[in-house]
Amino acid sequence: MKKRYFIPLIYILFLMLPIYWLITMSFKTTGEILSGFSLFPQDLTFENYRVIFTDPTWYWGYINSISYVTLNTVISIAVALPAAYAFSRYRFLGDKQLFFWLLTNRMAPAAVFALPFFQLYSAVGLFDTYLAVALAHTLFNVPLAVWILEGFMRSVPKELDETAYIDGYSFPRFFVKIFLPNIKAGVGVAAFFCFMFSWVELLLAKTLTAVHAKPIAAIMTKTASSAGYELGLLAAAGTLTIIPGAIVIYFVRNYIAKGFAMGRV
């Protein structure tokens, strides 16, 4: 092994330590956690996980989170695809200004939007629904999806479009049958990012929900304060929130580096 590989190795070890600690704690009883320090669980317990999988307030949290995240990903990609195509292929009045304005929404501090969003979504009767959170998260996911997709679309030569039109393809057929397969990777990466940012965001999701659409992360915060110091349960719930991310990341593993560069390398 080359000597320089020690640097990433040590870095990965550093990344894994807190995660290891979270997972270890999830297999301990709260009593064992509070009674003292131990590197491994002394008497292994699955009780924390059993509670989560049998108590509806817990497992509905996961269902709620997955639901609005999926809905958000679908909406974001659906509206971002045509827009990104327009930005990558045409010049039009105000295109650069519009592109920057879209990006400014990615820069907006969520804390600024929390209260106005609460009032807006209450006013239109969407408060405490999946749709409210999904739409609110499009604020930062749509600009990001447009940015990523535009980067990938730009690397597809324009001749592809022209050849298809000469061959008599209509625009919708060309877009679905020829263009989309060419930017498959880009769509995958954009969907991954929408999933990621919707999954990890909590402030807006918490502000816009009360009972029916409450995300798992918000349920954790509530438990942490109301049920005293249930560290084992909290650790188990936290461990379970890592799994969806690990699964989606596996699907885009080959494009992940290019994806993080927004197709701009």
Partner: protein, 286 residues
């Protein structure tokens, strides 16, 4: 070359409607609040620019802003060089590449409050792995809830843990796009490692590095959940960053006017700095 076509606007319309609904209406609400005073019961009185004046003259705002810049500055100063070093030393091909990339990306996919909770458990003085190690093995007295310096170190290390991988992945994407021929040519010319870094790798990474700095600036400047869960802004006010202070004023004290004025100034600062990065980035891009 792109062709001029005004019909392209039709393609952009859905995005425009959606983002306008989500961005314009709330911003107008905020602007509205920022110039009025309310005593509850939906009674509002014209306040003019009073809130802005008060805010710009208050020590509380400047100290939160100062802490915010200190936080963003520190994490950029650590994460950018560290990210470059790690990306340079990673294998370029082979079995380990996807494994490295996936494990490195993992922290970014953990919900932000779980990140905060996880670091809380990790740093508890007597029962957390790091806290126990520092206090009982190294004999350093470390308690985040008592000592502002420890609290600061912890939120910075937590952010380094959480986001350095973003810089690594971006730089790595830049590095793998360099054709082998460049390196061979450098070898024939007898270029030193430094010369290869300075004249081949840095120019290739420039674009992605600007994206990395832009994203890290925006996200760290807007950070709320992780430090809030970890320290709650304490001990005292020592880790109360801008967002934490803003949420305290808006949702805690329900002072809508001052909170709105603060929101607008806050957003304006983020926008201004981001715009500078963006122009730099797009200069060679279009």
């Amino acid at each position: 070359m792109k062709t001029e076509n005004q019909k392209a606007w039709l393609f952009v319309l859905p995005v425009l409607f959606l983002v306008a609904f989500n961005a314009l209406i709330p911003i107008m609400t905020v602007v509205n609040y920022s110039v009025q005073e309310t005593f509850g019961n939906n009674l509002f009185f014209w306040e003019g620019l009073g809130w802005f004046e008060k805010l710009l003259n208050s020590d509380r705002f400047y100290s939160a802003l100062g802490r915010q810049f200190m936080f963003t500055g520190s994490i950029l100063a650590i994460e950018i060089p560290l990210g470059i070093i790690i990306a340079l030393s990673m294998p370029r091909q082979g079995f380990w590449v996807p494994i490295c990339l996936v494990t490195m990306a993992l922290p970014m996919l953990i919900p932000w409050n779980v990140v905060g909770a996880m670091w809380n458990i990790f740093t508890l003085p007597d029962i957390g792995l790091l806290g126990y190690f520092l206090n009982h093995v190294l004999g350093v007295s470390y308690d985040m809830t008592q000592d502002p310096a420890a609290a600061w170190a912890t939120i910075i290390i937590m952010d380094v843990w959480h986001w350095t991988s973003l810089v690594v992945l971006l730089c790595y994407a830049g590095l793998v796009s360099i054709p082998d021929a460049y390196y061979q040519a450098a070898k024939i010319d007898g270029a030193s490692n430094w010369a290869v870094f300075r004249y081949i790798q840095i120019p290739k990474m420039k674009n992605v590095l600007t994206i990395a700095i832009l994203l890290r600036f925006m996200d760290s400047f807007n950070i709320y959940t992780e430090p809030f869960v970890l320290t709650g802004g304490g001990p005292g006010n020592s880790t109360t960053l801008l967002s934490i202070d803003l949420v305290k004023i808006a949702l805690g004290q329900f002072d809508l006017g001052p909170a709105a004025a603060m929101s607008l100034i806050y957003f304006a600062i983020t926008l201004l700095v981001s715009w500078v990065f963006y122009t730099l980035m797009m200069k060679d891009d279009r």
